[in-house]
């Protein structure tokens, strides 16, 4: 365990303000809520602005491959802001997870992702933990067949990275989105809408043979940085609720002065500070390629996954009636938090992994 910086650098603060400015302009809560009514008209333009204009698609891609050569620390700050806005963009699925799968590959695909020209997705259920089962698609005579359910980022993707079980282990095939059947799923969190992906004998060649390491690394990166998205969700819930409780009056007083409410907000504030420490630690460990990164990831997911849900549930409750309405954006964050709790493995799965890593064996173990 090295001495990782858990705060934000000036560069990270600057990156945060550009992302926040753009989201304030182009990702208002009403735009986000529209995706639940099948109006995704704002999504493509927003992703274009983030991916290309701000260059976030290539954030994790090395400079000599056309990217910004930044680290997990910066990607984590972007995810805090995307979580804060519940932004319906495929940054995590394409610019983090798919990009990490491709990190070691040659060819043009990584550069095309970096420039934002193409968007990609790893074809596994969003709930897949870093040590979970990977491949259900089979290959025979160079043709891929199978269905993968609940895939995030597939609807926005041009290229699908499909893990396939081969005789030599797991390989990753790159398949054009136009060659598969994409069945959009009515999702709990429509800001990260899922799709069922079916391949009916798609002709393809493997992009990466022996790809299990790359895929698991990508899933671990996704899990580690998801914690920062969860932190962003939780921080928004806290700030929004504090602001509201400072102006909402009942019984002739501002309700934020009632101890029954302000103590609950104090607990959320304590949790946000804790989530920040856990999420920054995971991102910093990943960026430094620290040997402790796997523990840091499991700790961050085990903590932030549950805490973001708590923060969102508290936001709904403490807003009272208005928190239950479609009009107020609290529900967007509740749905994102609840879906995120399952994404890349539930907190329980991460605790089970942690039990192995830190030698606290289960009963009978």
């Amino acid at each position: 365990m090295s001495d990782l910086n858990l705060l934000y650098t000036d560069v990270e603060d600057d990156l945060r303000s550009s992302v926040r400015d753009l989201l304030t302009d182009r990702c208002a809560p009403a735009d986000v809520a529209a995706v639940y009514d099948d109006d995704r008209s704002a999504v493509a333009g927003l992703w274009q602005a983030l991916a290309v204009d701000l260059g976030l698609a290539g954030l994790l891609v090395p400079e000599d491959r056309g990217g910004a050569g930044a680290s997990a620390r910066e990607a984590a700050v972007v995810l805090e802001e995307l979580g804060r806005a519940a932004a319906p963009v495929p940054f995590l699925t394409s610019a983090v997870v798919a990009t990490t799968v491709l990190a070691e590959t040659g060819g043009d695909l990584l550069g095309d992702l970096a420039s934002g020209e193409l968007t990609a997705a790893l074809v596994v259920p969003l709930s897949t933990a870093p040590d979970g089962a990977l491949a259900t698609v089979r290959v025979a005579d160079g043709r891929l067949t199978g269905t993968v359910t609940s895939v995030a980022g597939a609807l926005e993707a041009d290229v699908l990275l499909v893990p396939v079980e081969t005789r030599e282990g797991i390989a990753v095939y790159a398949v054009s989105a136009t060659e598969v059947v994409l069945e959009p799923v009515v999702s709990l969190d429509m800001t990260r809408q899922l799709a069922d992906v079916t391949l009916n004998g798609v002709v393809a060649a493997p992009l990466i043979s022996d790809a299990e390491g790359a895929v698991r690394r990508a899933l671990r990166t996704g899990a580690a940085l998801l914690a920062s998205e969860q932190l962003g969700v939780a921080r928004w819930c806290l700030e929004e609720t504090v602001d509201y409780l400072k102006q909402r009056r009942q019984f002739g007083r501002v309700v934020g002065g009632f101890q029954a409410l302000k103590h609950r907000l104090a607990d959320v504030a304590i949790g946000v500070d804790s989530a920040a420490a856990a999420a920054r630690n995971a991102a910093a460990a990943l960026a430094a390629d620290d040997p402790d990164a796997e523990v840091a990831t499991a700790v961050a997911q085990a903590y932030c996954g549950d805490f973001a849900v708590t923060a969102a549930e508290e936001a709904v409750q403490l807003h009272g009636g208005i928190g239950m309405t479609w009009e107020h954006p609290a529900h967007l964050h509740l749905k994102r938090a609840k879906a995120d709790q399952i994404a890349f493995g539930t907190p329980g799965k991460h605790r089970a992994r942690l039990a192995e890593l830190v030698e606290l064996p289960a009963a009978g173990g």
Partner: protein, 392 residues
Amino acid sequence: MTIDELRQRIADFLAAHDPATTDRLEFLRARYDAGLAWVHFPEGHGGLGLPQAWQLDVDELFEQAGAPDNNPQMNGIGLGMAAPTILAFGTEEQKQRFLRPLWTGEEIWCQLFSEPGAGSDLAGLATRAVPDGPDWLVNGQKVWTSGAHFADFAILVARTDPDQPKHRGMSYFLCDMSDPGVDVRPLRQITGEAEFNEVFLNDVRIPDAHRLGEVGQGWQVATATLNNERVAIGGRAAPRESGMVGVVSQTWREHPQRRTPELHDRLLRLWVEAEVARLTGHRLRQKLAQGQLGPEGAAMKVTFARLNQQLSGLEVELLGEQGLRYSDWSMARPDRVDFTGRDAGYRYLRAKGNSIEGGTTEVLRNIVAERVLGLPAEARADKDIPWKDLPK
């Protein structure tokens, strides 16, 4: 001075004062006089006016050289609370008189703040200090005083003007515990031992030269002391699995036959929270080094108390039949606080104090809500009424 120059100065000091052959007290006094005691203190008072963050390096270098320590376990109140307050509010004479023997451990300190009628509402305290020639005569009762039975001095808050509203009529004193009017009686607690005391003050005579801060400024001075207390409790560097979580994890590893899925689930949840709390403390210290610290120390203490209680409770259950046994109910008078010492039952009972001592969890939540989040303060109906007219 750079940190490398500081390291050189320590090396030079150690060369001139070999810890193996130098008398313990002589070594500590020389270290103080060389400005290597607490390097963030000013020159002439045991320091060199350097960043507080460098102190960790200093302590490590002295420890590696086998230097004697200044008995910090017995003098936590002195080092953590009295010293920074004396530095901030003391006269030059007071700093010269008190800081050196405090740091060397020649004089141990305790804290006479809480009273039976003034706990969370400390500003309501009733101990009176009345001028008597060049002195003050102090009468009253203090409680929850750890170390009073071996302390040489105390930081004391007393009421000097009952006609003022409660926050304005107090003054802060440095009280000699050997005064014949100081009567220390053990206060037995739920663990069976008496780590704390009740202290009765009967015509205790304190020279005006031992008043810290102005007459009537006692509340401000006391607040500075208490802020140091919370930072001291919440801000310490710690490796993974230190403290209560380490004790319980060890018990888990040593008792495979006692493991159940339900206990495993609870242990892992608490282990994660303890690790996150450790990281949060680490982050807090990084903020402190940048000078960004607000009242977040209060938040740390709320978490620390809850985790200590839940973890120690879990351990008693984990031990099963063995958890039914207790080491010793007899009234010992320990000379140091040890939250993780003795057996599981002791740890469970002692941890109950963690959410009460140094600010109850409820008061700390108010602090977080009001000073971090800016929510409305509690109604304080008594704040403008003269103290003597308040309902008692």
